[in-house]
């Protein structure tokens, strides 16, 4: 009989550990589960006996999860790691993956999508230790998609860019469905390919899903590359006008899709003109620029942490000011929009703006 794999769960909350122990005990491979509430003790346990998988929280006293991850990656390269965090921050997700975590999962999602989480966990436990590299960095999305196709993978590639989430479904190396920003099929695939950066993770395959893409992956990649190339380097005046026109139409469609009334993208002083869509007035561009400066200055004086965003209400409209790169964005909404929708959709508009 095969020796069961050992899983070590590290979290400073004893109740959570108990809950995890009960849940993971139901895995088909019946792993041996050990728990620990402190990072130094967990490292000691990893030193003294072999574990297959480490599941850890990020927010812990004395030594946090990211520090543990960096030590573990160096000392035990064969150990699989899953970060299970309650903090929904894209930066933490990126840092965890950069430190070599195999999977980043939110505690809430784990409770909501427990079946999918268990599938991922079982797949990680069973994965052959002799094959596969981890820590792909400095690779574009096209490279990653081609890798999945060449290795004839059956998987779901979940791609995240800030608040935007896209999924690509593969079966035996063939791309058969895509979903992003409310679109499906080839449209969604092209939208995802236009994202310039982000993170990705592999989820279990879903072979029963409906097929919406029939073209070969090579044809799709070629078409997308040509379009991006033409937009980035127009060779003639006509192509230049076409590219600008396409860009404007695409941004207007984005505005309508998310439900906003207008957007003004404001570059720093002396670095170009503001770009306004949905409004003729650019009076608010100066206000947006100056408001961002005032808010940052105030935050520095009070030591309030980084400026996340600013919301405002007038008699007719609601406004959100967000920063991305060196630009500020003012997004205008109607009065009846909910706070959550206004903020989430504004973030999506800003994240997609340059795609």
């Amino acid at each position: 009989m095969e020796t069961p794999y050992k899983i070590l769960i590290l979290d400073d909350e004893a109740d959570w550990l108990e809950l995890c122990r009960d849940i993971f005990a139901q895995l088909p491979s019946k792993p041996e589960i050990r728990t620990c509430t402190s990072s130094p003790r967990a490292l000691g346990m990893l030193d003294s006996e072999p574990f297959r998988l480490l599941i850890l929280d990020l927010k812990m006293p004395r030594m946090d999860g990211l520090q543990v991850l960096s030590v573990v990656r160096r000392r035990y390269p064969e150990l699989r790691t899953i970060v299970l965090s309650g903090l929904e921050e894209e930066e933490l997700r990126s840092r965890a993956y950069a430190l070599g975590a195999d999977l980043f999962w939110l505690k809430n999602d784990m409770q909501r999508d427990s079946k999918m989480f268990m599938d991922c966990l079982e797949s990680l436990l069973g994965r052959d230790t002799n094959g596969g590299f981890r820590g792909i960095q400095s690779k574009g999305l096209m490279d990653i998609i081609q890798l999945e196709c060449l290795s004839r993978s059956s998987t779901v590639l979940r791609i995240t860019r800030g608040p935007l989430v896209g999924r690509l479904w593969f079966q035996n190396g063939e791309l058969f469905d895509a979903e992003a920003e409310g679109a499906r099929g080839e449209v969604a695939f092209r939208r995802i390919l236009a994202w310039k950066s982000g993170t990705f993770e592999n989820m279990p395959a879903e072979p029963g899903r409906e097929h919406t893409i029939t073209k070969s992956i090579n044809a799709l990649l070629l078409e997308s590359a040509q379009t991006m190339d033409e937009n980035a380097n127009p060779s003639s005046e006509t192509q230049f006008i076409d590219a600008r026109h396409r860009n404007t139409v695409w941004k207007l469609a984005l505005l309508v899709r998310e439900g906003a009334e207008f957007v003004i993208a404001v570059p720093p002083e002396g670095q170009g003109e503001p770009e306004a869509l949905g409004t003729q007035s650019t009076d608010m561009a100066g206000w947006t620029r100056h408001t961002t400066e005032i808010a940052r200055r105030l935050g520095d004086k009070v030591e309030a942490g980084p400026l996340l965003h600013l919301t405002a209400r007038s008699l007719e409209k609601r406004l959100v000011v967000l920063s991305a790169g060196n630009r500020s964005f003012l997004v205008g909404w109607s009065q009846d929009v909910t706070d959550q929708k206004m903020l989430e959709n504004s973030k999506r508009i800003v994240a997609s703006w340059d795609s």
């Binding site: 206000w287 808010a295 706070d339």
Partner: protein, 104 residues
């Protein structure tokens, strides 16, 4: 004695940790604080600056043909909400910890 002096120096050399203000202030159209529920331990000058900067935001929005009734500035650990009040403003200051969900 030498040891005690060393300990004293050690404690003196620690950087001051500035607490975030909690409470509300109302400022008139000149930026003067009229009422204040923030602890008196907090710098009045800094509260005055918050009031003045908020008034500038409202004033510039009026000048840009978009008069505002409310502005909320969300920081990583702090929330400032200001309501326009006949040229002045009522400002709510609310520190946030990492584990508390920030109101939008």
């Amino acid at each position: 004695m030498g040891f005690i002096n060393y300990i004293k120096r050690l404690f003196r050399s620690r950087p001051d940790v500035q607490q975030l203000p909690q409470g509300s202030i109302s400022v008139n159209h000149e930026g003067l604080i009229i009422t204040c529920t923030v602890s008196s331990a907090y710098s009045k000058a800094l509260l005055g600056e918050i009031g003045s900067e908020v008034l500038v935001l409202f004033r510039e929005a009026r000048a840009a043909q978009m008069p505002l009734t409310e502005v909320s500035i969300h920081y990583g650990s702090f929330l400032v909400t200001a309501r326009e009040l006949r040229g002045g403003a009522l400002i709510f200051l609310l520190p946030q910890s990492a584990l508390i969900q920030l109101p939008t």
